[in-house]
Symmetry: C3
Amino acid sequence: MSNNSGDLILTERDGAVATVILNRAEKLNALNREMWAGLGGAFRALDGDEDIRCVILRGAGETAMGPGADIAEFSDVRANPEQAAEYGGLMHAAMHAIRDCRHPTVAQIHGLCVGGALELALACDIRICGEGSRFGIPVNRLGLVMAYPEIEALVGLVGRSSALEILYEGRVFDAAEARDKGLVNRVVADERVAGEARAAARRIADGAPLVNRWHKKFVDRILAGGELSAEEEAEGFACFDTDDFKEGVRAFLAKDKPDFKGE
Amino acid sequence: MSNNSGDLILTERDGAVATVILNRAEKLNALNREMWAGLGGAFRALDGDEDIRCVILRGAGETAMGPGADIAEFSDVRANPEQAAEYGGLMHAAMHAIRDCRHPTVAQIHGLCVGGALELALACDIRICGEGSRFGIPVNRLGLVMAYPEIEALVGLVGRSSALEILYEGRVFDAAEARDKGLVNRVVADERVAGEARAAARRIADGAPLVNRWHKKFVDRILAGGELSAEEEAEGFACFDTDDFKEGVRAFLAKDKPDFKGE
Amino acid sequence: MSNNSGDLILTERDGAVATVILNRAEKLNALNREMWAGLGGAFRALDGDEDIRCVILRGAGETAMGPGADIAEFSDVRANPEQAAEYGGLMHAAMHAIRDCRHPTVAQIHGLCVGGALELALACDIRICGEGSRFGIPVNRLGLVMAYPEIEALVGLVGRSSALEILYEGRVFDAAEARDKGLVNRVVADERVAGEARAAARRIADGAPLVNRWHKKFVDRILAGGELSAEEEAEGFACFDTDDFKEGVRAFLAKDKPDFKGE
């Protein structure tokens, strides 16, 4: 079921659900330059696959989603503004590929989720973690700034005050505080994280896939601001022309389970 | 106290507080085309009434605010994009009439509040529900999309991630989760919902009514974005020219209860 | 360590941490015209001081941050729209001086924090209060409106619905509800408020100060909306040219505590 299995970024498939894995368990999935590049490619490939209905992002193992970027390679690849801009370009391309993926995305967070790992989780639509998970963005301990694209995702999720609190204090905090700040959608027992992410993906994949894609598109269009064109407004009613709508109403009235085809 | 009492949308008055009732208890207040049209009219009429200080929106009975739109009539009134656009026009006019009503609005939520019923509640300024209330927008089980005006209200209240979570998973969830997501302002014991909504309406009606209307106008103006004109900025000080301001300061200094006239 | 100690607004220094004090304990720190003017001046002075790494704002004593504006002087200084616009200009200049201060700001909230005192706290980046703290903006009991700059801070922090709920009902509510609404970042035991604010300021001051200032600038730039210029995007990588970045990476790899100079 898996491909590229020797690589640092794996993509697995289970029916309509794909799972992308940060595969560097021996370093707690610390993100190096190659992984940022691989992530962007993996999500762009999934975006083009019409059969996908949900994508899960996780780290290998259940110890950590990740401690962030691999600081050991900074002296080679992130030592000055020029290198940092290039490295940042790969980071931001990866985050944008996750964010702009047409399919629903779920971050399945085991254990530590700090710095770059948290930024990847923020790019997903939904975040599910365990009670023992820990979060933070302690970059001001490194003299390091979050660039604009990363800040945008954080502020968009938790607002100005919690974003500044996280960035200023640099604390690593627990799952309850993360939930309280709106940083994660759901906290479950540590041993239930994988099962809950799978169950969420299953619920998502059971819904009409075109509807899920339209909802993501519409939510992001609303957040982009500005007047809607007549064509955009009309797209809000395009679902009424799909086979899946007929199937949904039929199944509802028959008290049956709908079987959506994505057309 | 009530008018139009044979109708599907009732408006009752108790002094300065009006209550609009989705009056179809035998169908758990499922919303049909006639009710969407009636709601828009009811709220536009209340908007024009200067004596009103608060409007409560509720369903008949204490079993449900509503299960959403009445799917049984979809094959007649919502069977294709053209019909859906017309039906959607009525829905959105109703939501906008609630949202743009100059008076403070409170959704009094008993029991199930799903789909279109939740969208109506979202159009109100404040939502109060019972511990047994249940919420959700499981439209992707019907192959059905929320159009832009409905998405706008949801995203505006709970943000991108919770909005997508609600729409993607299609779960029906409890009042505690609704509170946690910011979908409702207040959860009370089921038997206290009506009393708490009445008490909130009373507190609102006891405040200076012009001030409440200005606050609603100013909050929405801020959210609309863009530079304020000099006239708009000046309106922030117009209250100092009202009799109610003089009465408010007098009462405060006299440790008295103010008697506001709305002028 | 303190200056201007006979005044209504005090500024104290403890290393890189400054504390601004509303110093009118005998009136529970009720804000008069002179205090609004003094606050603006105090924060503008701190903004210009490169050695500062964090500013705490608090009221004198541990009974109250404040009950709001001093209504006793309204008949002299806030009796009509013209006076109100001038008084409002001082209020808004104070709030903007806090909000736009380049340094991280923390509101240390003891006890009652109502009306203008809460508005000042809202202008800070982070709010820490005690379990016994109480909050509210009961201005509609006075026939008084929050002007646009005040509404902007409130809505930016808690969103449309909670803002309207607070303004419409005029209730004074407890710290748990304030936390629930997102009005404060942290609630601790009353006797721990000062210690927690100091500990937060210490954590903030221990981070690289240029990074903290950049983060505040970037967060506010994102919230201002609109396209970023190439220069702005490039500033996201300027930290890689600082001595503090070299020190941060050195200390991390050496498992050492970094010693940041702000350069």
